[in-house]
């Protein structure tokens, strides 16, 4: 079930009313209800993969209890490792098996893969819920979290429908305790949630889907396009992927607020970043911090000799790239960002921009604009690699940029208008909780803006595209 579908528009109010009016008396019943509707939400796409989520959840829940039982004994470590291996094995089979086999076959079997590939359909959101479940057992093992004995509560934590298929990848330390205590309805939080849902829909429907039409056309015919068109398509893809993914996150976070659950922020105006390090503090925050806490810091982080800093940086960026999918393009994309990040971390300038952007001012300074544009350009080059079907296609695409040719304009004006509107609104709200944290005191103006967004979406709607991050 897509957030931008009529099914979800019917599903959400029904679930909301039942949650607050029928199941509000008991936390356990509320949690059970959340599990049921989350499984319905997920099963709408393919019910067979419900067993996979249930299995993953059960293993992580069980491992948490066993780790506690055998605390400080070798068995705890064995259970912990077994759970990690099991989760990663499931992820590996469903997501990476065919990739590894075909890569192996390319090198050693002259590309012959007859009978070797499984051609399994990738379960939607598998990378997200696997990482979420893993974070729980790791935190329990590290004694940062007490394991829960309540299986319903744990299943609700893993399968909570707003963030089940594309994050944010929640930490058990943040989300699980929210399923333990009774939820009370907060009017302001619910209104803010609705606002964030509206903004997420705008970003997805108006910006991402319209950019997608242009980008898909140009990437599909890039060999016959002029350089300016190729650059434009790359820039539009940067906005497409941002608005697609952050739009999804906004809808997920906003929907959670309606149920009295607070999810972590996943994007914080990444395209206003002044260097790559700041970009990575603002882009897909839940994944970046996951890798930081569970991979980078255990490896020693940046408080190790420089050679190891280089290794650690490459490890997390390559893993981050590989997390996105079984394709060399993602790995090269990760390596590219590692190369951009390394000079900053080695020179100790990776935390230069931890303050807000243009704090206390309406507009950025000239040098800030320059840094933002440079960062955006570097990120956009990375998106070409990310978007291409293969490394060779990415190189070919970049190599064709200096070539002159006709300029493809179809749908470009509308995209530009929606992007500018989105950027202006997010710039105004850059220091607030989310991009559309509207605090205008005049209700008429607020509502006028809400209706305007809906009207824009009415006209802007193109073919409903699925969310890009569903494939990860």
């Amino acid at each position: 079930m897509l957030f931008n579908s009529i099914e979800f528009a019917l599903f959400l109010p029904v679930v909301f009313l039942l949650y607050w009016f029928v199941f509000r008396r008991s936390v356990r019943w509320q949690n059970l209800f959340i599990v049921a509707v989350s499984y319905l939400f997920y099963g709408w796409w393919d019910w067979r993969f419900l067993f996979l989520i249930a299995f993953t959840s059960f293993c992580s829940w069980g491992s948490g209890l066993l780790i506690q039982r055998y605390r400080h004994r070798p068995a705890a470590k064995a259970v912990h490792i077994l759970n990690i291996v099991l989760n990663l094995a499931i992820l590996g089979v469903f997501k990476y098996y065919d990739f590894f086999v075909s890569s192996f076959a390319k090198v050693f079997l002259h590309g012959q893969t007859d009978g070797l590939l499984l051609n399994i359909v990738l379960p939607v959101g598998i990378s997200f819920y696997t990482f979420q479940a893993l974070s729980y057992s790791i935190d329990v093992y590290r004694e940062k979290l007490e394991p829960t004995h309540d299986i319903v509560q744990f299943f609700a934590f893993v399968s909570f429908f707003p963030q089940l298929v594309a994050g944010p990848i929640e930490r058990a330390t943040n989300l699980l305790p929210q399923f333990e205590k009774p939820r009370t309805f907060d009017h302001d939080q619910a209104v803010d949630g609705m606002r964030q849902i509206l903004w997420g829909l705008f970003k997805k429907i108006a910006v991402a889907d319209n950019c997608a039409a242009y980008v898909d056309h140009v990437f599909g015919t890039y060999t016959s396009q002029g350089g300016l068109t190729l650059v434009t398509a790359a820039v539009l893809f940067a906005f497409q992927i941002y608005c697609d993914f952050s739009g999804y996150s906004d809808i997920a976070i906003g929907t959670s607020k309606l149920f009295g659950i607070k999810l972590m922020r996943n994007f914080n105006n990444p395209y206003f970043s002044r260097d790559i390090a700041e970009f990575w503090r603002r882009w897909h925050i839940s994944l970046t911090t996951w890798f930081r806490d569970y991979v980078y810091i255990p490896l020693g982080g940046s408080r190790v000799p420089k050679a190891k800093v280089v290794r650690n940086t490459f490890v997390i960026f390559l893993l981050s790239g590989f997390w996105h999918g079984a394709n060399w393009t993602f790995i090269v994309w990760g390596a590219y960002h590692a190369l951009l990040f390394l000079p900053l971390i080695l020179s100790g300038r990776n935390r230069k921009y931890t303050n807000g952007i243009a704090e206390g001012r309406n507009l950025p300074s000239i040098s800030e604009i320059g840094r933002m544009l440079l960062t955006f350009t570097l990120v956009t080059v990375g998106w070409i690699i990310f978007r291409a079907d293969s490394i060779s296609q990415a190189w070919h695409y970049i190599a064709l940029i200096p070539h002159a040719g006709s300029f493809y304009k179809e749908g470009l004006f509308a995209c530009a208008v929606y992007i500018v509107l989105m950027l202006v609104v997010e710039w105004i709200h850059r220091e607030r909780r989310h991009g559309f944290d509207l605090r205008c005191h005049y209700a008429v103006l607020r509502y006028a803006f809400y209706y305007s967004l809906i009207i824009i979406m009415f006209f802007a709607y193109s073919n409903s595209e699925t969310f890009i991050y569903f494939q990860f």
Partner: protein, 316 residues
């Protein structure tokens, strides 16, 4: 909670009122359009089609059978239901709506059959259905074929979401090009010279058929028989250079002859008519221009007239 629900309800009601108002505006304005492809839909929805003779088929019916000439020759009233870029599935769907809306039953249907008739329609000019989707009958007929959802039928304005070009056509109708010219009884001709388009891409024009569509076509002929409506199958001129390059054109003619024999229908085949040999009558391989269409309309009307007193038992 109460406050939140009331606010949400109020917000939704205002949105609904806006949607209803916009839906009414678009629908009423769409019903006034006299341009293709809406003009014929408007006529049949407003029961303006009062014809003894109906022309059915694709664009080869739409631009080649001039009702004005047919009416003069046959001393009857005709109407052209031809659909651009559409095959028999859509053509029959349109006929069903035509009947369902209470338009008078025709006495004779002239059905133009050619290489694309027995294929599945591919969604060309899909927007033509949208202004009328509030009609549950039309929606039921075309939701599977065209992919319209139930919401398109029941939710105000829903069917217009993202239809920028359609809304523009409805709200700001223009007469800039010949595409925007008003139709005469569902017909429009093109006063153009031969472009050769189609001949160069002839590899893409080939005869194929879909068995489900053939079955649907035969069901339609059964229905006509039950309703005592006479049917004439016509293959109109196709530029000879194109016919020579078309794959399995013989198979196509054989099949139409077979269907005509099975139902005892006349089959008028103009594939090798003298018109087919002269580019002066075509603007591309598949379509006659205005001159060609007028000549052909006169010719086919005369041929039908001659059939009238032999094969048909129509009252004079």
């Amino acid at each position: 909670m109460k406050k939140f629900l009331l606010q949400t309800l109020l917000f939704t009601i205002i949105l609904l009122v806006m949607a209803v108002a916009f839906d009414v505006l678009l629908t009423t304005r769409a019903l006034r359009l006299r341009t293709s492809p809406f003009a014929t839909w408007n006529d049949l929805y407003q029961r303006n089609v009062d014809a003894d003779l109906l022309v059915m088929g694709s664009s080869r019916a739409f631009v080649q059978f001039n009702p004005a000439i047919i009416d003069t020759v046959l001393h009857t009233s005709s109407y052209n239901l031809g659909m651009n870029g559409r095959a028999a599935d859509s053509q029959i769907l349109k006929y069903k709506v035509f009947r369902h809306r209470g338009n008078r039953k025709p006495k004779l249907i002239v059905y133009e059959v050619s290489h694309g008739t027995m294929q599945k329609s591919n969604g060309y000019e899909r927007e033509q259905f949208i202004p009328y989707l509030h009609d549950p009958y039309l929606w039921r007929l075309c939701h599977e074929q065209e992919g319209f959802s139930f919401a398109d039928c029941v939710l105000p304005s829903w069917r217009f979401i993202g239809q920028r070009s359609l809304m523009h056509k409805i709200l700001f109708p223009t007469m800039k090009s010949e595409y925007d010219a008003p139709l005469y009884k569902g017909f429009r001709s093109y006063d153009r010279k031969w472009s050769g388009r189609g001949l160069r891409q002839q590899a893409s024009v080939s005869y194929t058929h879909d068995t489900a569509i053939i079955r649907q076509f035969r069901d339609f002929l059964d229905e006509c028989r039950r309703d005592s409506i006479q049917v004439v199958l016509v293959t109109s001129p196709f530029y000879i250079g194109g016919t020579r390059k078309m794959a399995d054109s013989t198979g196509m003619h054989t099949m139409f002859m077979q269907i005509a024999n099975d139902y005892g229908l006349p089959y008028l085949d103009y594939t090798y008519d003298e018109l087919s040999y002269d580019t002066a009558y075509f603007y591309n391989t598949m379509h006659l221009n205005k001159t060609g269409a007028d000549l052909f309309s006169r010719k086919v009307a005369r041929d039908i007239d001659s059939l009238r007193y032999t094969k048909f038992q129509l009252e004079p």
